[in-house]
């Protein structure tokens, strides 16, 4: 028993890798969920205005946005929420398992909110005009607070994925220490700011369709102000957030992110500021198409690179700086009686300790060397690297198309064995398995056509 590692089978997705599967579902979810939390606050604020200033016509807007939200956020948001679990499950089962086992009660509490929220959104939308306005206003405020509570609860878990930020949790294993980690509050501020901005942008899609001119102007101005407030708060929170990141994240941010990311994010930020200022100044010029375009820009050019970066800068870990994204446990965590997997890997290798090694690969022969090498490589590397020439950090490119087994092995026995690369796991394979992996990796480049290899090698990164 002591000689077996807790490694699951691997699901290998060609080219895009499981990381992108997670990224796609995650981005859709973030868009839908932040819109719905932000909108709940918008509803509460506008409805307060409607009741105190006696402007029942404003409720028409809430009704419209609410129905839209039901379709857009609640179908997509509530399915992609568990969808993220499914995606991490098949990409990084140890990662999701680790989070579940540290935070099950937090998630269970979030589920309580999630359930009342779904009931609440139906109540909010369908009871407009069916119950007295004061009671409805209370309902909307409770809904807004409950929606925000789901955010409060998830942010601690997400930011623990980055790191605890201090050593207490490793010693105590306490959920509170893990949850209120170093970057919790900055991250919460960032997401709260973002939810106002995105709800402001999406809200424009509906505001532009309001028939009553005064209502349309009033709502559009309100959305603009909320959006601007969100963007400014977001910028401040971003600066704080960056300060709370671990050093591996800072290194990756500075050296490893694709060059287009920072300029793109700045461009989106600028566009958002211009957009909200414009719509505040000339509310009647806000057309539905603009609002849809703005939402799409934020989602595709803002959120997608941001989500992908957040995931990249967490490398090589998936959670708490103790689980690597290739399923291995990177260190001891005394507070939870968790032991590192690395000594056993260094001693016995993968083929002898992985429970899902086919019997035919347990004993390496001349005939199955390549298959054995492929198995180890996919288990240890495929979570972050595609085995082809294209796609996610393609291995052929990263190795500059090398077919030199000794050279590749030197990399495995040097940098990887000793964990010298800050954004890659320590992968201490024993000598025999380094040889197998190196042979397999070399064969990848041999396979791809000679010309292509040269082209890639000269193009470099």
């Amino acid at each position: 028993m002591l000689d077996t590692l807790g490694l699951y089978p691997t699901w290998y997705v060609p080219t895009i890798g499981t990381a992108w599967v997670m990224g796609i579902i995650g981005t859709i979810h973030v868009l839908a969920s932040h819109t719905s939390v932000g909108a709940s606050w918008l509803f509460a604020l506008i409805e307060t205005k409607s009741v105190t200033e006696n402007k029942p016509e404003l409720m028409e807007y809430i009704k419209k946005y609410g129905v839209f939200l039901l379709v857009f956020s609640y179908i997509i948001g509530s399915i992609t929420g568990p969808g993220i679990w499914y995606a991490i499950t098949v990409a990084s089962p140890r990662g999701v398992g680790g989070l579940i086992h540290n935070f099950v009660w937090v998630w269970a509490a979030e589920w309580v909110y999630f359930t009342v929220e779904v009931i609440g959104v139906y109540a909010l939308v369908y009871l407009i005009g069916k119950i007295d306005p004061r009671t409805h206003l209370k309902l909307t405020w409770v809904f807004a607070l409950a929606s925000w509570a789901t955010m409060l609860l998830i942010v601690g878990i997400l930011s623990f994925m980055m790191w605890p930020g201090n050593k207490s949790w490793y010693d105590t294993g306490s959920t509170l220490d893990a949850f209120f980690n170093l970057n919790f509050f900055a991250h919460l501020g960032l997401r709260t700011a973002f939810m106002f901005a995105i709800a402001g942008a999406v809200g424009g899609i509906l505001a532009a369709t309001m028939k009553d001119k005064n209502v349309r102007i009033e709502i559009t101005r309100f959305l603009s102000k909320m959006g601007l407030a969100g963007v400014f708060l977001g910028m401040i929170m971003w600066m704080w957030y960056v300060q709370t990141l671990p050093s591996n994240a800072k290194i990756i941010m500075q050296t490893q992110l694709p060059g287009y990311i920072a300029p793109t994010l700045f461009a989106v930020l600028g566009a958002t500021l211009v957009y909200f200022s414009w719509t505040a100044w000339k509310p009647m010029q806000l057309k539905q198409g603009f609002a849809i375009a703005m939402t799409a820009i934020i989602a595709i050019a803002g959120l997608w690179p941001e989500e992908r970066s957040r995931e990249s800068i967490r490398k090589p870990y998936v959670a708490g700086q103790y689980i690597y994204s290739n399923q291995t446990i990177a260190r001891d965590v005394p507070g939870k009686q968790i032991k590192s997997n690395l000594p056993l890997i260094a001693e016995k290798g993968i083929l002898a300790t992985h429970p899902f090694v086919p019997e035919s690969l347990r004993h390496v022969t001349a005939a199955n060397r390549l298959q054995a090498g492929e198995f180890i490589t996919k288990v240890m590397c495929a979570n972050c690297h595609s085995m082809g020439a294209t796609g996610l950090r393609p291995m052929i490119q990263k190795l500059h198309g090398s077919t030199d087994v000794a050279q590749i092995k030197a990399y495995l026995s040097g940098a990887l064995y000793n964990g010298l690369v800050p954004y890659m796991p320590r992968i201490p394979l024993p000598d025999k398995e380094q040889e197998l992996v190196a042979e397999y990796l070399a064969s990848l480049s041999q396979k791809s056509s000679h010309l292509q290899t040269i082209a890639l090698a000269t193009k470099g990164e």
Binding site: M1, T4, G6, Y8, W11, Y12, I76, S78, I79, P82, W85, A87, T89, V90, P93, R94, G97, G98, I100, H101, V104, W105, A108, A109, W111, V112, Y113, V116, V118, Y122, A123, L127, I131, T135, K138, W141, V142, L145, A146, A149, L152, G165, G173, S174, T175, L176, F179, F180, F184, F185, I329, K336, Q337, I338, K339, P355, F356, E359, E374, K378
Partner: protein
């Protein structure tokens, strides 16, 4: 290559999460079963009302059927939302105590697990489209939106079933992962299913639909815009549907039991017998109610809730039997007590679930039964104020604890 039960036992042990679990395993097991009861009930209501709305759509020349089709489309729409949120809780708890089984099963069919998410989005969007288009005098072609929606729901139910069932067969995982010794990491296959078991849950949808219709009648009986004539029609239909469902359930349940390993002695299991008994009881009651179609109540629905609870327990006992040869016992899961987070859940469940959930549900229930505008009674008003109160207190405590913890760990 098949594995012997000793190495399977080892594998299951090491795949357990090394962090252990923060409370006694039975707590999670009970919550898993209890929350799954509501998941499956809403699955049944969703599939049942969706099916009926399509059937009624075909007969929409008759006003009663048209009205029913529209009503059922809406009911299915809400039920799918509910089945999703109510699926999240058992999904969480099953991952706590059965993580080796659930994760292995999901990874071995990775493409299906992810396909489940996207097809559910497509199916639900299609259903929403049907809902927006299915009104009086709707053209015949709109029904395709509904058909596509329901087809995806059924597909998703089947994926759920296969993932649950594959999780019970660890001795076959290796042969799925590496058929003939060749590793297949594509996750594009469904490896195992059990027709009797899956069809049983579909048949159950018929029974639960019948009970739901009778409850629907009882709920709307007080509204003047729901004529007695229509309600009696629905009530009579409900009884008939229950009878059909009960027979289908008896057949499929027998099929399921017959497919189980002989060592389970399934036919003499007390819970299996209890399920047969409930079905026969429901049959008898419905036959009697057929004679008095104007009498309405929530009785049948209550019986189906009990039935679902017994089925959920039976399903869990089966899982324990499947795991017996491998010595997998949730009671041996490493427990690392965590009192604060346990308290967080239970207090939130009682306080927020009770007051906020209670407030929302009461408002919906009362307003739905009122024609025109509902004026909150003093009790409902008090409930509303307590809901606001509990939220403020909750957020306040959250930040106090958070700031204290953060400051003491960071500074």
């Amino acid at each position: 290559m098949e594995l012997d039960s000793h190495s399977i036992a080892t594998t299951l042990q090491v795949l357990r999460d090394p962090a252990g679990i923060p409370s006694h395993p039975i707590v999670f097991q009970v919550l898993m079963i209890a929350t799954w009861v509501f998941h499956i009930l809403f699955v049944n209501i969703a599939l049942g009302t969706a099916g009926l709305s399509l059937y009624a759509f075909a007969k929409r020349q008759t006003p009663h059927w048209e009205r029913l089709s529209i009503g059922m489309t809406k009911a299915a729409k809400v039920s799918v939302s509910m089945l999703i949120v109510l699926g999240v809780a058992p999904l969480l708890f099953t991952q706590v105590i059965y993580d080796p089984q659930w994760y292995s099963s999901n990874i071995l069919s990775g493409a299906w697990a992810i396909g489940f998410i996207f097809t559910l989005i497509l199916g639900y969007s299609s259903w929403f489209t049907f809902y927006f288009k299915n009104h009086q005098g709707a053209s015949g072609t709109v029904v395709w939106w509904g058909i596509i929606g329901l087809a995806f729901f059924l597909l998703d139910g089947f994926i759920m079933h296969a993932l649950s069932y594959q999780a019970l067969l660890p001795d076959q995982w290796m042969s799925w992962y590496a058929p003939n010794g060749k590793v297949d990491m594509s996750g594009t296959h469904i490896h195992a299913w059990q027709a009797g078991r899956f069809l049983f849950f579909i048949a159950m949808s018929v029974t639960v639909l019948g009970a739901f219709l009778k409850a629907y009648v009882n709920y709307y009986r007080v509204r003047e815009d729901y004529e007695a004539d229509y309600l009696t029609f629905v009530n009579r239909l409900g009884t008939k549907i229950i009878l059909v469902g009960v027979v289908a359930q008896i057949v499929t349940f027998t099929w399921w039991l017959a497919d189980l390993p002989a060592s389970f002695h399934a036919f003499s299991s007390p819970l299996a017998l209890a399920i047969f008994a409930i079905l026969i009881l429901l049959c008898g009651v419905s036959l009697r109610q057929q004679k008095v179609p104007h009498v309405t109540s929530y009785q049948a629905l209550a019986v189906t809730v009990v039935m679902a609870a017994v089925i959920a327990t039976f399903r869990e006992l089966l899982r324990m039997q499947y795991m017996l040869p491998y010595g997998y016992d949730i009671e041996t899961y490493k427990v690392m007590e965590d009192i604060p987070s346990t308290a967080l859940f239970f207090l939130t469940f009682i306080g927020v679930g009770g007051l906020v959930g209670g407030f929302f549900l009461t408002a919906i229930y009362k307003a739905g039964r009122t024609q025109g505008v509902y004026e909150a009674s003093p009790t409902v008003n008090k409930l509303a104020n307590s809901a606001i109160g509990i939220m403020i207190v909750w957020v306040g405590i959250f930040f106090m604890v958070g700031i204290f913890t953060w400051v003491s760990n960071t500074l």
